[in-house]
């Protein structure tokens, strides 16, 4: 009895010892030497692995920071203090990049865009799109079923009472998850400092556009005339904003004569200056 116990114990103990030695040897010889600063820099990064910087994750970004291939400002999620901290740690320039946020090219929420049919099925924009387009008369507009809100990992998107997604510019990290989630491709990552924004995507013009939605761009082109030369160009009945030109030359006058309010001067979150929703007809 005792002998068998002793043999069992000896075998298990011996095995443990053997594997311990193998592991110790492996650690000694197979260890990959890594710049210790990479780990430290990674610790200063937010660790959300959002990919907004364009790298596969925070570790990869830290590697490129240490290698001097990227500037700390490339991380759009870190606070300015955090970036300064990394910059001083590495002894490099912070290289603050302009903050970019997701913007929605549609303002046709409840009561503004006409609803043709009632979608009945499981919730979600992508689910509604496969059911005859979701029942909204405008086949370019926001369906309001919150696929982007669900997709946003930073809690930056919330649906407003008009069933439009409001992107909180403070929380938005420009990671692009909403851009992928939206089946109507309505999101675009744009610089926050450039407030000129077209909130419509319909290529229809005049009466046809206004019939779809009260805030549709009807392609009149007044904004292009009123803006500084080169800032707005009309294409396919929609104003196309040259972001670089608009950064220096853009001003709110371009939005003044817009008959439907499709082009807006938006400095913070979208849809903040709206009157109470008009609930009528669909």
């Amino acid at each position: 009895m005792f002998t068998s116990l002793a043999i069992g114990g000896a075998i298990l103990g011996g095995l443990g010892l053997l594997f311990g030695v193998i592991l110790a040897v492996a650690n000694r010889f197979l260890k990959v030497e890594e710049d210790p600063r990479i780990e430290q820099v990674e610790g200063m990064l937010p660790g959300s692995n959002c990919g907004a910087c364009g790298e596969p994750g925070c570790h990869a970004f830290a590697e490129r920071l240490v290698a001097g291939e990227r500037a700390p400002g490339g991380c759009t999620v870190s606070s300015p203090d955090g970036i300064v901290q990394i910059a001083s740690f590495l002894g490099v320039d912070a290289g603050q990049e302009a903050k970019r946020v997701a913007r929605l090219h549609c303002a046709g929420g409840l009561g503004r865009a006409r609803q043709l049919a009632d979608y009945e099925g499981f919730s979600g924009c992508r689910a509604a799109v496969v059911a005859g387009g979701g029942g909204k008369s405008c086949s370019w507009g926001c369906l309001g079923l919150a696929d982007c809100e669900v997709a946003c990992t930073f809690d930056a998107i919330s649906m407003n009472p008009d069933r439009l997604p409001v992107v909180n510019v403070d929380k938005c990290t420009a990671c692009g998850d909403c851009v992928v989630a939206c089946p109507r491709d309505l999101f675009e990552i744009l610089p926050l400092d450039q407030p000129l924004l077209v909130q419509c995507k319909t290529p229809l013009s005049a009466e046809a556009a206004r019939e779809l939605c009260k805030v549709a761009c009807d392609g009149c082109g007044r904004c292009a005339q009123d803006a500084a030369p080169g800032v707005i160009k009309m294409n396919n009945n929609l104003p196309i904003i040259d972001q670089n030109a608009a950064l220096t030359l853009g001003d709110p006058r371009a939005t003044v004569r817009c008959p439907t309010g499709a082009i807006r001067w938006v400095t913070g979150d979208q849809f903040q200056d709206r009157p109470a929703p008009i609930r009528e007809g669909r």
Binding site: Q115, L116, A117, D118, Y119, E120, G121, A128, V130, A131, G132, G134, G135, R282
Partner: protein
């Protein structure tokens, strides 16, 4: 001319359904179990009625409470817990103290079903989980059988039924009797096949009448609410194995009809192994699954320490079912088995 001016409803195709629904299937399983349950009450008397009611009530109550506590809408209306409660009650020996029955009911629904996420997510048949826990916790209570067709079974109940919770029940030997399997295993006493078919033997409330169980199963199979390949596969495996063994040594092994008809094999094969959630989905998969249950049952019965093994055989096969599904995938049309 009347112009069609209506807001249309948008749904995706198909716009028609076969009319099948979960609650309908579950309701029919309950109907199919009713004859077996009634026969149990007829054979064992008032005590069986009390056991069945206690099992059913405890399962329903557990489901209701668990839904309430997890702040989910009540799922009583899908009838699945009624199936669990009834099946659980039918596997119990009549005369089991009511407090034990109710405890097992809570375990069946709580541990067997809701712990895993409720209907559709339970890897094991919840009724059998309840019974397995009871078997381990109360081995004496779960293997003390009352004789069927006792005189006065409709006027009195055994005193063990209303034992005070956590007190050991007392049994009077005069009322108890051995099941055919135990009689064979421990006394080499083979019951007559005709008695087994009709249910004139002793055992759990719902396991004795093979003919009524098969009738219920045939009804469900005809309505496509039960996969008949599972019981068939179990029966064939058990029959072939036992027949071969009996041929080799008639002294040591019982006959195939005895193995098929005795104990919980009928009830287990027809109503427990066919639990949709815990069984494989493909035709080949269910045949393998049934064969596995058959082999395990025969193994446990003939060479194990216990006289009965259907319950453990089914639970083990339940555990293997997802792996069977992963291994046995049908060949997708036009792929000859290639990957996508």
């Amino acid at each position: 001319m009347v112009s069609v001016a209506k807001t249309l409803q948008l749904r995706t195709s198909p716009h028609v359904t076969s009319g099948a629904s979960v609650d309908l299937i579950m309701r029919h399983v309950v109907w199919a179990l009713v004859p077996t349950a009634l026969f149990g009450v007829y054979a064992f008397g008032l005590t069986a009625a009390v056991t069945l009611s206690a099992a059913l009530a405890s399962c329903l109550l557990a489901e209701w409470l668990l839904c309430k506590w997890s702040e989910q809408p009540s799922t009583l209306s899908d009838w699945s817990v009624a199936v669990t409660g009834l099946l659980y009650g039918l596997t119990l020996p009549p005369g089991l103290p009511v407090w034990m029955t109710m405890l097992g009911g809570f375990i069946a629904v709580g541990l067997g079903k809701h712990l895993f996420g409720g209907l559709g997510y339970n890897p094991f048949n919840p009724a059998l989980v309840g019974r397995a826990v009871m078997q381990a916790a109360f081995p004496v209570g779960m293997t003390t059988w009352h004789a069927a067709f006792g005189s006065g079974r409709f006027s009195s109940v055994p005193s063990s039924l209303f034992t005070f919770p956590f007190a050991a029940p007392e049994y009077t030997d005069a009322l108890t009797s051995a099941t055919p399997l135990a009689a064979w295993k421990f006394e080499h006493n083979l019951a007559a096949a005709s008695d087994l078919v009709m249910g004139f033997t002793t055992g759990s409330t719902g396991e004795t009448s093979a003919v009524l169980i098969l009738l219920g199963g045939a009804y469900l199979a005809a309505r496509k609410m039960m996969n008949w390949r599972i019981p068939l596969s179990i029966f064939v495996t058990v029959a072939v194995l036992t027949f071969a063994l009996h041929l080799a040594s008639p002294e040591a092994y019982p006959t195939a009809p005895f193995m098929l008809l005795s104990g919980g094999l009928m009830l287990g094969a027809v109503f427990m192994a066919t639990d949709m959630v815990a069984s494989p989905m493909t035709t080949l998969g269910v045949v393998i699954y049934g064969a596995l249950i058959g082999v395990l049952t025969v193994t446990i019965r003939l060479w194990g320490g216990m006289p009965e093994g259907v319950m453990y055989a089914i639970l083990l096969a339940n555990a293997v079912a997802p792996h069977i599904d992963r291994l046995v995938r049908p060949t997708v049309y036009g792929t000859s088995g290639r990957k996508a």
